[in-house]
Structures are given as structure tokens and as C-alpha cells.
Symmetry: C2
Subunit: 665 residues, 2 copies
């Protein structure tokens, strides 16, 4: 603890008043909004006060200082706890007026904390369990960057406040198991052990011994009275020295201070009501008007907020003196290496049209074999399908508890935890995470993919075995509706490249798009090389383009993605031979195509018969084929059989396309 | 153990030969298919043999006998273990020829076990963790039916084989936590503790102490050598007597018998190869040709398969003598009570058009208040949002570890576990499960919803707060893409009723459709009663219908679902006043509308300008509005604000509809 910290810790303002400031603001804001969750902020005010006053390394004036400790409110419904802290410590923009506009249109204080919306919010939380799973990514990114840049530049803790809901969610198991395995000892979870959930007592639905559970996954654990500041502080101090991640179960009273409702689910998700608020003021000894914070208390909180300024200045000096300064700043800004375009260009030039067929998952590996050595911040991984997802480039080394200096993570069979950890890594900054599983299992990580999109994070999902083309594993493993379901997520880029060239282009787009997540849908099966035109611009950047023009007057447009582009090209040959002018459009990304001009779209789609070919259900394709076009694809779930039997039996063949087109014309 | 069991247990065929029959069939079938997972069946052959020979209550000739023990292969990739067992014990239809056609088009032996496809398969597994989570539903259904019908009719165990993958998946946490809480002591999990996952040693990614973890959730645990039949049997015998659910960690060697590859991930998901298979034959002392089972061994296995015949006959006699026979048979067949139509009719008649506005979640509660007392097998629940989802009807009583006789389950904050448990309950039979959470959290349970659809199970998802209409909780809690994503799942019925009458009709459709799951998307906000025409047939059964015809010549059709139907009706009034003939179509279910005749569809959709109104993204609506229609709805994620501000700011209002229509015309 430096001098400032010590001063703040010894503030003449009693702990109780500091914590009550949080309680008062929280209940007042919820009351003003007539909506919200007062119980958690009131219950955890003591714990949060201790954390901010005595332990958290932060500087309110600069909430983005790279070496700050991260504070993650996994129990995001208790957002007023965070807003109160941001306001009281003096984070710019989180004014009292914003607190008064809690949960109103355009305020900085939405119902749940939103990254990118409110300064000081590290990650968007609310969907339970996500924050604690993000925190594993934060803590891992810290260790990886520490391995790369050293203690001088990277040395901070990740603190999490989580509730019963977070710990009941399945994703928490994936998160704590991975954190324990990787011995992320700078991760400290403060569990708001209030025994209450929305339906009533937690004992209605849960009998877990949480401490034992965390210990089983390799965590240090402690149990404290969450209203005893010294006990809380001692537990945090001990956790900071642990060689394992730490859980501190803080026994608290939800809605602490509310005379009648404290300790009950009535305080969880509803305003306390006038009478109860008045009673709480009395009980807490807080005689100030709504939203009024006495100057001395405000000043003490401001002192807490500036406690880390000296730390930050010292860090800045260390950064200036550090030989890796430019590289550190580059990766923290998220810029790619200066030679990225060159490396990519060389790669594209090396792609030969007559090379042996390659599955796009293998094309992806080929791309990674080139890019991973060139982009040290690119951190791969797979949810236990490394060899199938082809995510491990030649040059990668595993990240382990003994050595965080690697760049490949064995995430285990934890798709959801992987996705949420990748969100945390991307949010932390300094690394660009990509991770693989089968496309069908995007369902398992969908809540985290949604958050990648909502938070504008560059997280890259390498999703292989992207259709019935995976063959024998059958319908449980064959995605049919996943492409549609992913395309439906706002702000998500869904790429389905048709060959090696497109795979390289889509990887380039995923990497250069700093503010959107990407899904790369890749085949298990080998595909021909349809393009070897490296000199050209990135065709995939326009989302769709004519990959094979007609030699005649255009009567038919065959649109396809991924593995079905080659099938469409085969069909084209037959149709042209029959005298039917047919163009083939490759459509690797609907989202990028949607951004093009109306004129370009019209040019690509043509005016004749429109046919879409995709080994998935047709949901959504009417956007491009209209209500009178033809869709060649799946009508329901797949089946277990070798790939050729599947394509034939489900009628996704050149012959089926030709038959449908000729019947229609 | 009855006489038959004892005989089978004392079979003169050594255990080793029985187990090796499984090993040989498994490696031979995988070899023939040139695809599959031999390692797990070979590793778990001893455990499975002990279970089937000495403990499992089943009768191969009648794999659907209601009081059989359930056997669930959660590690579904080891499907050859199950197919070998079904074949060897003599389950009809699982012939040697089918084993030879493992993973081929149309065979009874797909890559992963599929319910409804192969006799004796209790649930579709493969997506990891689902089986163990289903098993909680199976075991719970058993206890609930036992409470209702007594030991004479319902008294059986649920056995699960699960692997490391199942236990690493987050859903396993939700499952074991719920099972422990509910003290489902007839649930016994045999953990294939082979230390190997696809990427290599489990130690690459996981350091959990699984026994301690299960104990933390209230389970009995044991650790045994999975190749020691006596130890395995003793552990199962002890587990059967436990007052808690039981985990038996069976230390096994994956690919047991393979001379070079045993104990390595090389045996996990690939054929062993000719040489290794030959070596395994030698090492195991199995000199028989591929797919050849010596008569004495086959006969011993047949004896195991018929071991439960006497048990079944005794049970049948007890059933015949039981006063509740007809009711038991009704619920096991899944038929609704005879007076269902009458009850529903009375309910519909009671709906008054001038009643106060009601949110459809409240309408749903009103329906449940009527139906739950009339349908004793209807089992409700919520993932800790009981008061918000309105899933607890007046007459319900909670299901607890002390009394399984209730009909409401506090699932806790475990959406995925809830959905998978509901699948298990539906598959067990005798109960009809419904469960609630917010619509946005269908993302959390999506893999299980997909399996409800794939398995044709009547599981009813009550998903409230179904749009930005939920207001202040903000974008993390506001579904925008979920309706599209759910509509994309084959075989799933997605209902979005617009008022109380439609809610009653949609509930009726969900309940009477025995072979499909349903999602009911319901509002948080109050809606007017647009219909009070109880005498009419179920309009929702046709998916969409003209709810408000035009008084003029029809120029415009406004299609809407749920809460936006009332908005469309308001817009209609204005447009009609302006002289623009406008019809309003309510479209509670796209899936049912798709099943209608082309003529009916055309009649409903009209020929003029088509406008869709839905407070969600427009993905997929081109199917009905074409490429030149108008979509009024969301373009991206929502925001935190009171409902009226949201609808106004996002432009989903009667005025916005009118403006768009007049601009277009």
C-alpha cells in the first residue's frame, strides 16, 4: 500500500458513512427510476467500500489506465453499486445527474452495466455468470501480457463480485474449473453470499457447498462476515498472496438497512418504496436528502478515487523507459503489426488454383501458420477439438499454469467458458483471441457470442464442421439452423468462405474489423480452389460477388456460400451447356453484403431467376431470392451417414440444382 | 435380485468374455464404418457388463416397459457401447446387420444414439452434458410418479454413463446441483474416468477433483477400478442404497485391449486400424472373426436380456390390479384428460373483451390457473423467475426433496439444466413439463431446446419479457434476435400470442401437439383484449389469420405478432380513416402457417403492400413481405429505458407504421 492508499485507508470518515453513501444513492436511484435492484448494492456496499478504499488499484480520473486492477460486477443487476462507486470516486461523466436518470433513455446509467457506454465499466454484465467467466479471460490476459512485457508494465488483479445466480449458472463451472487449472492467482471473486434469489431463499433451489466446490477446482477459499470491514480486508489481503485463484464468500444481508425488507427477496428487484426508504435512512443513520452526499463524505470518496494516481504516474514513467513501449502501446490499441498487409499478400500469392483440394478448416490452419508468427498477440485455442478445428498453428506453444508465455489455450470441453473468456481477453486488451469448436456448438456459447457483438469486441470464432458435410456424427453434430441463428445476431460478422483464398480474405476481415466479432464457418470436407487471384482486392470485403460470370445472357443467378459454391459452379457448367446463362455468386458474408450500395447489390443478384444453395435450412434466404426464387438446401435436421450419401439424399447436388432451375424456367 | 438375475449373474461365461463381446463389436463396427469412437466402449465394457448383468432392471424384448430402469449414455459418442448392449441382449430391431451398417444412411445405428430411431435408446446424446442433465429429469419424473402412483407401479433407477466431457460442460454443474438439492437418490452416474479427451490427457485442460465437486453438491461418491467387476458391482449396490444421488468414478483405460493405442486419445474418435484391431483381438484373447459372437456368449447375453422378464410380468399383474391403472396408462401414453376440450372451452368463454388490459404472461397464468388443476401431469417451474414468468398457478405445490408429490419445480438460476431436465421428464413419460425464463435466455438453453425438437418431445417453454417491451433492464435482457433464432430450429413451434384468447389457444396447441416442443413468447407489458370469440375454432391453429379485416378494398396487409398486433390495429384505424383499405393479420405461429394450403396463405397475406410489425429484428420476414414490403421493428440491440420511450425511439408505433405505408403508396 503506497502513501495515498494508506491515507485513504485512514480517512477520518468512518467506513459506515462511506458505505452508506453507496446504499443511499442506490436506493434513491432505484426509487427515482421506479425500477431496479436495490438489495445487492445495499448488501455489498461494505465489501465494495473496503475493496475500493484499501485494495483496488485504480485512478478514477483515468479509468482506462492499462495496468489498473479490473473490477467486474458479475451480478450486473446490482448496477447501482457500480454507478455509485464510479460517481463517488469521480470517474468523468458519471455525474449525479446521470445517477438521477438511472435506467432512462440515453443515460450513462442503464439497467445493467454496459461496456463502452459508461466509463469505468469493464464488461457488460447482467446475463448471469458471464462476468465471472469474462474475468477468467481478464486474469489470463494479464498473466499472458505479464509474461510478454514483464512486471513493470503488467501486474494487476482482477476482482469480481458475483452472486448466487452467477454461481448457479453452468458457465460458472467452466470458468472456475479453467481458472483453477491455470492457477490464475490474481483472480479474486467476492461472492455476495446473501442466501436470497428472486424466488425467495436460495435454499428453495440450491444446497451447494460453494467453498468446497471451488476448492475442488483448485481455488483458495475463505468465508467472512460481509459487513465486517476488517475481516473483508484481511481476506482480500490473504487472497492477494495466494498461489491460486480465490473465492471469498461474504455473508451479507440483502437490502442491508431496509427495516422490514432487509434479508428478503423483496429487496432484490424492486424499489423499496417510500416508507421503507425512509426507514432505511433512519436505521442506517443517514439523514441526508435523496441524492445528497455530504461534502466530507464526497471528499473522502474522491480521495479514494485518486488514491492510484501516484501508482499510475510511476507506471507511466516505467512505460516511457521501457524498450517495449511502442509494441505495448500497439497491442493495447489493438492495431495489427505494420507488415500485416504484406504478410497477407504473400500468403494470398502462394495459393495455387491447382493445389490439392483442401477443407476450409485446413485452409484456416494454413492461414494461421502464416499469421500467428506474424501477430504475437493472436491467441488461439479450442474447446477440446484442436485437431478437428485446425486452430493450432505450427508455431504455437500452449499456455500453462507454469508458463503463460504461450499462445495456445487448451480450453477443455467448455465452449461457453471459452467464448466468455475470449470476451474478457478482448476487453482486457493486448491480445486478440480466437477459439474453435464445431459450428453446431455455437449454440453452447451463444449467450457469450451475443455479448461479443453487443460489446463490439474483436473475438474470432473458428467454427468447423459447418454443415451435414461433417457426415457420420449425425444430426446432433450437424448444424442446419446455426448459420441463420448467427446471422440473426446484430453486429456479428458471419463468414463462410468457399476455398483457401476466401478463407484468407475472411481471416483478414475478421482481424482488421476491430469493433465486431466474427464467426468463421469452415468445412470438414475438402474443397477445390476456385480462386487464385491474389492480386485482386479482398473480394470477400463486399460480402458477395460474382465468382463465375455467365458466358451468355444471364437468366439465372446461383448464390451459394462455403462448400456449396463449388456445387453451384458444377451446376453452372451444365446449365450453360444447356444454353441457360447462369452466373454464380459467392456470398461469404451477408452482413458485409448488406452494407453495399443498392446498385452493387442489384448487379450481383441479377434480375433473372434467383437460386440459393446452402447446406443448411433456408430461413432468411428470401431476402435474396425473394418469394419466387428457389432454395436448394436442408428442410430439417440431418442424418448420420457418409457425406456423399447425405448430399445426395438431401438433394444438394449439381443435378438437383439443374433440375429445379429447368423445371422453373 | 430375483431368480433370473441371480442366474444371469452366475452365468458360466466368464465376465471377461461378455465384456470382450462389446469390445469386439465396437471396434469392428467402427472399423467397418471407417469412422467412430472405439475407445470409450472398449474402456467401459466391463462397467456396462456389470450394470446390465447384475443391476439394470430391463427386459430386452420390451424396451419400453414403463417401470424399467433407465440407462442413459451421456457420452453419446460411445454409441457402439449402447448398440452392442442392445444387440447382445436382444432388443428387437438392433440386428447384427444394423451393427455392420454403423453410421450408414438409414441404419438403426447412427453416429450418436438417437431417441425414436433405435429401440432402447432413452434419449438422444452426443452434445456433451445433455445426457447427465436429462437424467435429472428422468430421475425426478420417477420420483414424482412414484409419489402419485406408488411403489407398485413406479420404482426404478436411472443410470448414466458420463465422461470427462460431460463433466466439464457447464450444464453438468446445473444438473448435479439440482439433483443433489432434490436428493434424487435413485440417480447413479458411472463416470468413465479415463483421463483422456480429444486433445490428449485431461490434465491439459482440467484439474478438478470430481469426487469433491459432486460431494459439494450433495452426492455420494465412490472411486473404483473400472476393470474390476466385483468392485464396480459393489459400488453400484452401495449407490442403490444411498440417500443421495451417487457418482461412481470408474478408473478405466480408454481403448482397453488395444496393444499400442490403449490409454491414449488415438482411440477416442478414430478407427483403431487393421493392425491394432488384430493386436487387440490377441491381447483380449478374442479369436473370433469380425462381428462373430460365439453362441455360448450370445446366449449368456440373451439371458441377461431376458433377466427382467419375470419382473415385468409381476409388474404387469400389479398394474392390472391397481385402481389407478387407467389413469397411469393415460399419462404414460401422453393423452390429455378426457375433459380437456371442455375445460378449455369454458376458459375461452370466460374471456371478456372489455376486461382490463393484461400482459400475455398474466394471461398465461390465468390459463394455467385453470389447466393445472385439470391436468395433474402438468409440471411447472421457472429458472428463478417465478413471479415474472407467471408460471406458478394458484393450485400448485412445490416439488421438494421431502415431498415429490408437488407439481412446481424451483429450478434455480439454471436455464440450461431446466430445459434438459424437462427433456428427460418428457422422455420418461407420465408428466408434461413446462418451464419459464426470459425469452432472451432461450440462448442459455438453446442446445436443449434443439434436442427437444430433434427428439419430438412435448416440452413447453414459457418465455416471458419477449421484446424491448421489458423496458429498463436494457439490451442484455431484451430479446431482439431470439424469435428469428428459435423460428430457425426445425420442428419447434414458436408461439407469440397477442392477447388472452390467443394465449389460451396457443397453450391448447402446445399441449395437444404431442410430438413437438413449443415456445410461448409472452409479454411483460399489458395488452388489450383483441378477441372474445370463444365459440370460434382455435384461430391460432392455422398460424396466422385476419384478425381485423378491412372495411374497404384491401390495399395493405399489416402482419404482426404478440404485442405488436394491437399497435397494428391502431395503425389500421388511422389508415382506414385516410381511405387506405388495411387488413391486420395476427401471426402467432409461422410454423403452423407454413402448414396451410397455398390458397389460405394467399388469402391471409393479400396481394397489396405487405407490412410486418414485430418488436424484434426483421430477419426472416421477407418470407411474408417479400423483398419490396416494409418491416417495422428493430434494427439492432435495444436499450435501457421505460417501455414507451423504447417503442417511440425505435419507431415501433402506429404513427411510424402509417408514415411508412403512406410514403410507400
Amino acid at each position: 500500500m503506497d502513501a495515498n492508499s494508506a491515507a485513504a485507508a485512514k480517512s477520518t470518515i468512518p467506513h459506515k458513512d462511506l458505505a452508506n453513501a453507496i446504499r443511499a444513492l442506490s436506493m434513491d436511484a432505484v426509487e427515482a427510476a421506479n425500477s431496479g435492484h436495490p438489495g445487492m448494492p445495499m448488501g455489498m456496499a461494505d465489501v465494495a467500500t473496503v475493496l475500493f478504499q484499501r485494495h483496488l488499484k485504480f485512478n478514477a480520473a483515468n479509468p482506462c489506465w492499462p495496468d489498473r486492477d479490473r473490477f467486474i460486477l458479475s451480478a450486473g443487476h446490482g448496477s447501482m453499486l457500480m454507478y455509485s462507486l464510479l460517481h463517488l470516486t469521480g470517474v468523468p461523466g458519471v455525474t449525479l445527474d446521470e445517477l438521477k436518470r438511472f435506467r432512462q433513455w440515453g443515460s450513462k446509467t442503464p439497467g445493467h452495466p454496459e461496456f463502452g457506454h459508461t466509463p469505468g465499466v469493464e464488461t457488460t454484465t447482467g446475463p448471469l455468470g458471464q462476468g465471472i467467466a469474462n474475468s477468467v479471460g481478464f486474469a489470463l490476459a494479464e498473466r499472458m501480457l505479464n509474461a510478454r512485457f514483464g512486471d513493470d508494465l503488467v501486474d494487476h488483479y482482477t476482482y469480481v463480485i458475483a452472486g448466487d445466480g452467477c454461481l448457479m449458472e453452468g458457465i460458472s463451472h467452466e470458468a472456475i474449473s479453467l481458472a483453477g487449472h491455470l492457477k490464475l492467482n490474481k483472480l479474486i471473486v467476492l461472492f455476495d453470499d446473501n442466501g436470497i434469489s428472486i424466488d425467495g431463499s436460495v435454499s428453495l433451489s440450491c444446497s451447494d457447498d460453494q467453498l468446497k466446490r471451488f476448492e475442488a477446482s483448485g481455488w483458495s477459499t475463505a468465508r467472512v462476515d460481509g459487513h465486517d470491514p476488517e475481516a473483508v480486508s484481511a481476506a482480500i489481503a490473504a487472497a492477494k498472496k495466494s498461489s491460486k485463484p480465490s473465492l471469498i464468500a461474504c455473508k451479507t444481508v440483502i437490502g442491508f438497512g431496509a427495516p422490514k425488507k432487509a434479508g428478503t427477496s423483496a429487496t432484490h428487484g424492486s424499489p423499496l418504496g417510500k416508507e421503507e426508504v425512509a426507514g432505511a435512512r433512519e436505521k442506517l443513520g443517514w439523514s441526508h436528502a435523496p441524492f445528497e452526499i455530504p461534502a466530507d463524505i464526497k471528499s473522502a470518496w474522491a480521495g479514494i478515487g485518486s488514491r492510484g494516481a501516484a501508482d499510475m504516474n510511476a507506471w507511466s514513467k516505467r512505460l516511457d523507459a521501457n524498450s517495449q513501449k511502442a509494441e505495448f502501446e500497439r497491442v493495447m490499441k489493438g492495431d495489427l503489426p505494420a507488415n500485416f498487409a504484406e504478410v497477407l499478400g504473400d500468403l494470398k500469392s502462394s495459393i495455387a488454383k491447382d493445389a490439392p483440394k483442401l477443407a476450409t478448416r485446413q485452409s484456416s490452419q494454413l492461414v494461421l501458420d502464416t499469421l500467428v508468427p506474424a501477430i504475437p498477440e493472436l491467441i488461439g485455442g479450442s474447446a477440446d477439438l484442436t485437431g478437428s478445428n485446425n486452430t493450432k498453428a505450427k508455431a504455437t506453444k500452449p499456455v500453462t499454469a507454469e508458463n503463460y508465455g504461450g499462445n495456445y489455450i487448451y480450453y477443455g470441453i467448455r465452449e461457453h467458458g471459452m467464448a466468455a473468456a475470449m470476451n474478457g481477453m478482448a476487453l482486457h486488451g493486448g491480445v486478440i483471441p480466437f477459439g474453435g469448436t464445431f459450428l453446431v456448438f455455437t449454440d453452447y456459447c451463444r449467450p457469450a457470442i451475443r455479448l461479443s457483438a453487443l460489446m463490439n469486441q474483436r473475438v474470432i470464432y473458428v467454427m468447423t464442421h459447418d454443415s451435414i458435410g461433417l457426415g457420420e456424427d449425425g444430426p446432433t453434430h450437424q448444424p442446419v439452423e446455426q448459420l441463420a441463428a448467427l446471422r440473426a445476431i446484430p453486429n456479428l460478422l458471419v463468414f463462410r468462405p468457399c476455398d483457401t483464398m476466401e478463407t484468407a480474405e475472411c481471416w483478414a476481415l475478421a482481424l482488421t474489423t476491430k469493433d465486431r466479432p466474427s464467426v468463421l464457418a469452415l468445412t470438414r470436407q475438402a474443397l477445390p480452389h476456385l480462386r487464385a487471384d491474389a492480386a485482386n482486392a479482398n473480394h470477400c470485403a463486399r460480402g458477395a460477388y460474382v465468382i463465375r460470370p455467365t458466358q451468355k445472357e444471364r437468366k439465372v443467378t446461383l448464390m451459394a456460400t462455403g462448400s456449396e459454391v463449388a456445387i453451384a459452379v458444377e451446376a453452372q457448367k451444365i446449365l450453360e451447356e444447356k444454353g441457360i446463362g447462369t452466373a454464380v455468386v459467392s456470398m461469404p458474408s451477408w452482413e458485409l453484403f448488406e452494407q453495399q450500395s443498392a446498385a452493387y447489390k442489384k448487379e450481383v443478384l441479377g434480375t433473372g431467376l434467383k437460386v440459393a444453395v446452402e447446406a443448411a435450412i433456408g430461413f432468411g434466404w428470401e431476402r435474396y431470392i425473394g418469394t419466387d426464387g428457389i432454395f436448394i438446401g436442408m428442410k430439417g435436421f440431418g442424418a448420420s451417414a457418409p457425406i456423399n450419401d447425405l448430399y445426395t439424399n438431401f438433394g444438394i447436388t449439381p443435378a438437383a440444382i439443374v433440375d429445379a432451375v429447368t423445371a422453373k424456367l
